[in-house]
Symmetry: C2
Subunit: 131 residues, 2 copies
DNA sequence: TCGTTACGACTACATATGTAGCCAGTACCG
DNA sequence: CGGTACTGGCTACATATGTAGTCGTAACGA
Protein backbone atom coordinates (compact mmCIF):
# COMPACT_ATOMS: atom_id res chain seq x y z
CA UNK A 1 0.00 0.00 0.00
CA UNK A 2 2.97 2.36 -0.02
CA UNK A 3 2.01 5.40 -2.03
CA UNK A 4 2.82 4.97 -5.69
CA UNK A 5 5.68 7.17 -6.87
CA UNK A 6 5.01 10.61 -8.19
CA UNK A 7 4.65 10.35 -11.96
CA UNK A 8 5.22 13.46 -14.03
CA UNK A 9 3.16 14.62 -16.99
CA UNK A 10 5.44 13.21 -19.64
CA UNK A 11 6.07 10.05 -17.69
CA UNK A 12 2.37 9.50 -17.37
CA UNK A 13 2.05 9.15 -21.12
CA UNK A 14 4.66 6.45 -21.09
CA UNK A 15 2.92 4.69 -18.25
CA UNK A 16 -0.34 4.77 -20.15
CA UNK A 17 1.30 2.99 -23.03
CA UNK A 18 2.56 0.28 -20.73
CA UNK A 19 -0.65 -0.04 -18.80
CA UNK A 20 -2.30 -0.42 -22.15
CA UNK A 21 -0.13 -3.33 -23.14
CA UNK A 22 2.77 -5.03 -21.42
CA UNK A 23 5.41 -6.22 -21.33
CA UNK A 24 6.96 -4.30 -24.13
CA UNK A 25 10.39 -3.21 -25.23
CA UNK A 26 11.64 0.35 -25.23
CA UNK A 27 11.48 0.36 -28.98
CA UNK A 28 7.85 -0.66 -29.07
CA UNK A 29 6.92 1.87 -26.46
CA UNK A 30 8.81 4.61 -28.25
CA UNK A 31 7.00 3.72 -31.43
CA UNK A 32 3.71 4.21 -29.71
CA UNK A 33 4.29 7.36 -27.71
CA UNK A 34 7.19 8.97 -29.53
CA UNK A 35 5.64 10.32 -32.70
CA UNK A 36 2.44 11.52 -31.08
CA UNK A 37 4.43 13.64 -28.66
CA UNK A 38 7.30 14.47 -30.94
CA UNK A 39 9.75 12.74 -28.66
CA UNK A 40 12.98 11.25 -29.82
CA UNK A 41 13.58 7.65 -28.94
CA UNK A 42 16.24 8.80 -26.49
CA UNK A 43 13.65 10.80 -24.61
CA UNK A 44 11.44 7.79 -24.20
CA UNK A 45 14.38 5.72 -23.03
CA UNK A 46 15.24 8.32 -20.44
CA UNK A 47 11.72 8.26 -19.12
CA UNK A 48 11.70 4.49 -18.97
CA UNK A 49 14.90 4.54 -16.96
CA UNK A 50 13.52 7.13 -14.58
CA UNK A 51 10.30 5.24 -14.14
CA UNK A 52 12.22 2.09 -13.32
CA UNK A 53 14.30 4.01 -10.82
CA UNK A 54 11.15 5.41 -9.23
CA UNK A 55 9.74 1.95 -8.95
CA UNK A 56 6.87 2.63 -11.30
CA UNK A 57 8.17 0.13 -13.83
CA UNK A 58 9.78 -3.24 -13.74
CA UNK A 59 11.54 -5.09 -16.50
CA UNK A 60 12.68 -8.51 -17.43
CA UNK A 61 15.56 -9.27 -19.76
CA UNK A 62 14.76 -10.59 -23.17
CA UNK A 63 18.04 -11.26 -24.89
CA UNK A 64 19.77 -7.98 -25.33
CA UNK A 65 16.79 -5.84 -24.55
CA UNK A 66 14.40 -5.22 -21.69
CA UNK A 67 10.72 -5.85 -21.58
CA UNK A 68 9.01 -3.32 -19.38
CA UNK A 69 5.90 -3.80 -17.34
CA UNK A 70 4.11 -1.59 -14.83
CA UNK A 71 5.13 -2.15 -11.24
CA UNK A 72 2.15 -0.22 -9.95
CA UNK A 73 -1.40 -0.60 -11.18
CA UNK A 74 -2.97 2.34 -12.92
CA UNK A 75 -5.71 2.15 -10.35
CA UNK A 76 -3.36 3.01 -7.54
CA UNK A 77 -1.83 5.90 -9.42
CA UNK A 78 -5.18 7.35 -10.31
CA UNK A 79 -6.28 7.05 -6.74
CA UNK A 80 -3.20 8.81 -5.54
CA UNK A 81 -3.39 11.60 -8.09
CA UNK A 82 -7.08 12.01 -7.44
CA UNK A 83 -6.50 12.32 -3.76
CA UNK A 84 -3.96 15.05 -4.27
CA UNK A 85 -6.11 16.92 -6.70
CA UNK A 86 -9.09 16.68 -4.42
CA UNK A 87 -7.01 17.85 -1.53
CA UNK A 88 -5.61 20.88 -3.27
CA UNK A 89 -8.71 22.03 -5.02
CA UNK A 90 -11.49 21.08 -2.67
CA UNK A 91 -9.89 20.71 0.69
CA UNK A 92 -10.13 16.96 0.36
CA UNK A 93 -13.90 16.92 0.30
CA UNK A 94 -15.67 14.90 -2.34
CA UNK A 95 -19.08 16.41 -2.68
CA UNK A 96 -17.89 19.93 -3.50
CA UNK A 97 -15.70 18.35 -6.12
CA UNK A 98 -18.58 16.47 -7.62
CA UNK A 99 -20.78 19.52 -7.47
CA UNK A 100 -18.17 21.60 -9.18
CA UNK A 101 -17.74 19.20 -12.06
CA UNK A 102 -21.45 18.76 -12.45
CA UNK A 103 -21.92 22.49 -12.68
CA UNK A 104 -18.93 23.19 -14.89
CA UNK A 105 -19.25 20.43 -17.41
CA UNK A 106 -21.71 19.79 -20.12
CA UNK A 107 -23.42 16.48 -19.48
CA UNK A 108 -25.78 14.71 -21.77
CA UNK A 109 -29.13 13.54 -20.48
CA UNK A 110 -27.92 9.99 -20.80
CA UNK A 111 -24.89 10.71 -18.68
CA UNK A 112 -27.03 12.40 -16.09
CA UNK A 113 -29.21 9.34 -16.00
CA UNK A 114 -26.24 7.10 -15.46
CA UNK A 115 -24.99 9.22 -12.63
CA UNK A 116 -28.36 9.20 -11.02
CA UNK A 117 -28.32 5.45 -11.17
CA UNK A 118 -24.93 5.37 -9.53
CA UNK A 119 -26.12 7.63 -6.77
CA UNK A 120 -29.09 5.39 -6.21
CA UNK A 121 -26.84 2.41 -5.81
CA UNK A 122 -24.66 4.38 -3.47
CA UNK A 123 -27.59 5.50 -1.38
CA UNK A 124 -28.73 1.92 -1.10
CA UNK A 125 -25.55 0.80 0.61
CA UNK A 126 -25.03 1.70 4.21
CA UNK A 127 -22.35 4.21 5.09
CA UNK A 128 -18.71 3.28 5.03
CA UNK A 129 -18.63 0.79 2.24
CA UNK A 130 -15.04 1.88 1.85
CA UNK A 131 -12.97 -1.03 3.17
CA UNK B 1 -8.68 33.90 -21.33
CA UNK B 2 -5.00 33.11 -21.51
CA UNK B 3 -4.37 30.00 -19.47
CA UNK B 4 -3.41 30.83 -15.91
CA UNK B 5 0.21 30.06 -15.12
CA UNK B 6 1.19 26.67 -13.80
CA UNK B 7 1.19 26.88 -10.02
CA UNK B 8 3.23 24.34 -8.10
CA UNK B 9 2.22 22.51 -4.95
CA UNK B 10 3.99 24.80 -2.56
CA UNK B 11 3.02 27.89 -4.47
CA UNK B 12 -0.57 26.85 -4.35
CA UNK B 13 -0.57 27.13 -0.59
CA UNK B 14 0.66 30.68 -0.85
CA UNK B 15 -1.98 31.49 -3.42
CA UNK B 16 -4.68 30.12 -1.16
CA UNK B 17 -3.60 32.48 1.56
CA UNK B 18 -3.85 35.41 -0.80
CA UNK B 19 -7.11 34.32 -2.35
CA UNK B 20 -8.37 34.08 1.18
CA UNK B 21 -7.50 37.64 1.98
CA UNK B 22 -5.79 40.33 -0.05
CA UNK B 23 -3.92 42.53 -0.42
CA UNK B 24 -1.38 41.49 2.14
CA UNK B 25 2.26 41.97 2.80
CA UNK B 26 4.88 39.24 2.55
CA UNK B 27 5.19 39.28 6.31
CA UNK B 28 1.51 38.72 6.85
CA UNK B 29 1.41 35.94 4.31
CA UNK B 30 4.47 34.29 5.79
CA UNK B 31 2.85 34.45 9.19
CA UNK B 32 -0.12 32.58 7.86
CA UNK B 33 1.51 29.90 5.74
CA UNK B 34 4.98 29.68 7.15
CA UNK B 35 4.52 27.90 10.46
CA UNK B 36 1.94 25.43 9.19
CA UNK B 37 4.34 24.26 6.50
CA UNK B 38 7.54 24.76 8.42
CA UNK B 39 8.77 27.29 5.91
CA UNK B 40 11.18 30.03 6.73
CA UNK B 41 10.12 33.53 5.85
CA UNK B 42 12.71 33.51 3.08
CA UNK B 43 10.98 30.57 1.48
CA UNK B 44 7.69 32.37 1.40
CA UNK B 45 9.33 35.43 -0.07
CA UNK B 46 10.89 33.36 -2.80
CA UNK B 47 7.56 31.91 -3.70
CA UNK B 48 5.95 35.31 -3.76
CA UNK B 49 8.61 36.55 -6.14
CA UNK B 50 8.16 33.56 -8.38
CA UNK B 51 4.43 33.93 -8.40
CA UNK B 52 4.75 37.56 -9.37
CA UNK B 53 7.12 36.61 -12.14
CA UNK B 54 4.69 34.00 -13.37
CA UNK B 55 1.95 36.54 -13.41
CA UNK B 56 -0.08 34.80 -10.75
CA UNK B 57 0.33 37.68 -8.34
CA UNK B 58 0.37 41.42 -8.55
CA UNK B 59 1.50 43.91 -5.98
CA UNK B 60 1.22 47.52 -5.11
CA UNK B 61 3.77 49.49 -3.13
CA UNK B 62 2.86 50.44 0.38
CA UNK B 63 5.76 52.46 1.68
CA UNK B 64 8.74 50.22 1.85
CA UNK B 65 6.85 47.01 1.39
CA UNK B 66 4.62 45.37 -1.17
CA UNK B 67 1.04 44.41 -0.81
CA UNK B 68 0.30 41.33 -2.85
CA UNK B 69 -2.95 40.42 -4.49
CA UNK B 70 -3.93 37.60 -6.83
CA UNK B 71 -3.64 38.42 -10.50
CA UNK B 72 -5.68 35.39 -11.47
CA UNK B 73 -8.89 34.31 -9.81
CA UNK B 74 -8.90 31.04 -7.97
CA UNK B 75 -11.75 30.00 -10.19
CA UNK B 76 -9.58 30.13 -13.28
CA UNK B 77 -6.78 28.18 -11.67
CA UNK B 78 -9.11 25.51 -10.43
CA UNK B 79 -10.64 25.23 -13.84
CA UNK B 80 -7.28 24.85 -15.43
CA UNK B 81 -6.00 22.30 -12.95
CA UNK B 82 -9.24 20.40 -13.17
CA UNK B 83 -9.04 20.27 -16.91
CA UNK B 84 -5.56 18.82 -16.77
CA UNK B 85 -6.44 16.31 -14.13
CA UNK B 86 -9.50 15.24 -16.05
CA UNK B 87 -7.49 14.98 -19.20
CA UNK B 88 -4.79 12.82 -17.70
CA UNK B 89 -6.91 10.54 -15.62
CA UNK B 90 -10.10 10.21 -17.62
CA UNK B 91 -9.20 11.14 -21.15
CA UNK B 92 -10.90 14.45 -20.68
CA UNK B 93 -14.32 12.96 -20.16
CA UNK B 94 -16.43 14.15 -17.29
CA UNK B 95 -18.85 11.39 -16.58
CA UNK B 96 -16.25 8.69 -16.00
CA UNK B 97 -14.60 11.09 -13.62
CA UNK B 98 -17.80 11.66 -11.73
CA UNK B 99 -18.57 7.99 -11.71
CA UNK B 100 -15.16 7.20 -10.36
CA UNK B 101 -15.41 9.63 -7.48
CA UNK B 102 -18.90 8.54 -6.64
CA UNK B 103 -17.77 4.93 -6.47
CA UNK B 104 -14.52 5.58 -4.63
CA UNK B 105 -15.65 8.03 -2.03
CA UNK B 106 -17.84 7.69 0.97
CA UNK B 107 -20.82 10.01 0.61
CA UNK B 108 -23.41 10.73 3.22
CA UNK B 109 -27.07 10.42 2.37
CA UNK B 110 -27.37 14.16 2.60
CA UNK B 111 -24.57 14.66 0.12
CA UNK B 112 -26.14 12.19 -2.21
CA UNK B 113 -29.37 14.11 -1.98
CA UNK B 114 -27.65 17.34 -2.82
CA UNK B 115 -25.99 15.84 -5.82
CA UNK B 116 -29.23 14.45 -7.02
CA UNK B 117 -30.70 17.91 -6.78
CA UNK B 118 -27.85 19.31 -8.81
CA UNK B 119 -28.34 16.69 -11.46
CA UNK B 120 -32.01 17.54 -11.62
CA UNK B 121 -31.20 21.16 -12.21
CA UNK B 122 -28.70 20.19 -14.82
CA UNK B 123 -31.16 17.95 -16.58
CA UNK B 124 -33.64 20.78 -16.64
CA UNK B 125 -31.40 23.03 -18.67
CA UNK B 126 -30.97 22.41 -22.36
CA UNK B 127 -27.62 21.22 -23.62
CA UNK B 128 -24.74 23.61 -23.94
CA UNK B 129 -25.41 25.75 -20.95
CA UNK B 130 -21.68 26.42 -20.95
CA UNK B 131 -21.47 30.19 -21.44
C1' DT C 1 20.76 63.27 11.52
C1' DC C 2 22.09 58.62 12.31
C1' DG C 3 21.35 54.04 13.52
C1' DT C 4 18.23 50.18 13.29
C1' DT C 5 15.46 47.30 11.08
C1' DA C 6 12.25 45.47 8.20
C1' DC C 7 11.80 44.61 3.13
C1' DG C 8 12.59 43.28 -1.39
C1' DA C 9 16.38 41.67 -4.54
C1' DC C 10 19.70 38.54 -5.59
C1' DT C 11 22.11 34.32 -4.93
C1' DA C 12 22.46 29.43 -3.80
C1' DC C 13 21.85 24.69 -4.20
C1' DA C 14 19.72 20.09 -4.47
C1' DT C 15 16.29 17.52 -6.82
C1' DA C 16 12.74 16.97 -10.51
C1' DT C 17 11.48 17.27 -15.23
C1' DG C 18 11.67 17.75 -20.30
C1' DT C 19 14.51 16.63 -23.97
C1' DA C 20 18.22 14.45 -26.20
C1' DG C 21 23.07 12.83 -27.52
C1' DC C 22 26.87 9.49 -27.36
C1' DC C 23 29.16 5.15 -26.09
C1' DA C 24 29.96 0.48 -25.14
C1' DG C 25 28.50 -4.01 -25.33
C1' DT C 26 25.92 -7.79 -27.20
C1' DA C 27 23.31 -10.53 -30.23
C1' DC C 28 22.86 -11.95 -34.62
C1' DC C 29 23.96 -12.10 -39.68
C1' DG C 30 27.00 -13.24 -43.06
C1' DC D 1 34.95 -15.14 -36.72
C1' DG D 2 34.24 -10.46 -37.71
C1' DG D 3 31.15 -6.67 -38.63
C1' DT D 4 26.87 -4.35 -37.89
C1' DA D 5 23.12 -2.68 -35.90
C1' DC D 6 20.26 -2.27 -31.98
C1' DT D 7 19.88 -1.63 -26.91
C1' DG D 8 20.61 -0.04 -22.42
C1' DG D 9 23.65 3.09 -19.69
C1' DC D 10 25.60 7.34 -18.83
C1' DT D 11 26.01 12.13 -19.67
C1' DA D 12 24.17 16.65 -20.65
C1' DC D 13 21.72 20.76 -20.10
C1' DA D 14 17.94 24.05 -19.45
C1' DT D 15 14.03 25.04 -16.68
C1' DA D 16 11.04 24.16 -12.57
C1' DT D 17 10.60 23.50 -7.74
C1' DG D 18 11.57 23.26 -2.73
C1' DT D 19 14.06 25.56 0.58
C1' DA D 20 16.80 29.18 2.43
C1' DG D 21 20.66 32.62 3.17
C1' DT D 22 22.72 37.36 2.44
C1' DC D 23 22.82 42.19 1.17
C1' DG D 24 21.62 46.81 0.12
C1' DT D 25 18.45 50.20 1.08
C1' DA D 26 14.53 52.77 2.28
C1' DA D 27 11.65 54.04 6.10
C1' DC D 28 11.15 55.16 10.68
C1' DG D 29 12.27 56.06 15.39
C1' DA D 30 15.44 58.36 18.56
Amino acid sequence: MSAPPRISDAEWLVMEAIWGQAPRSAGQIAEEVGPANEWSEATVKTMLARLVKKGALDFERDGKRYLYRAAVPREACVRSEAREFQERMFGGRTSPLLAWFVKESPLSDTEIEELRALLDEKAGQDEGGQA
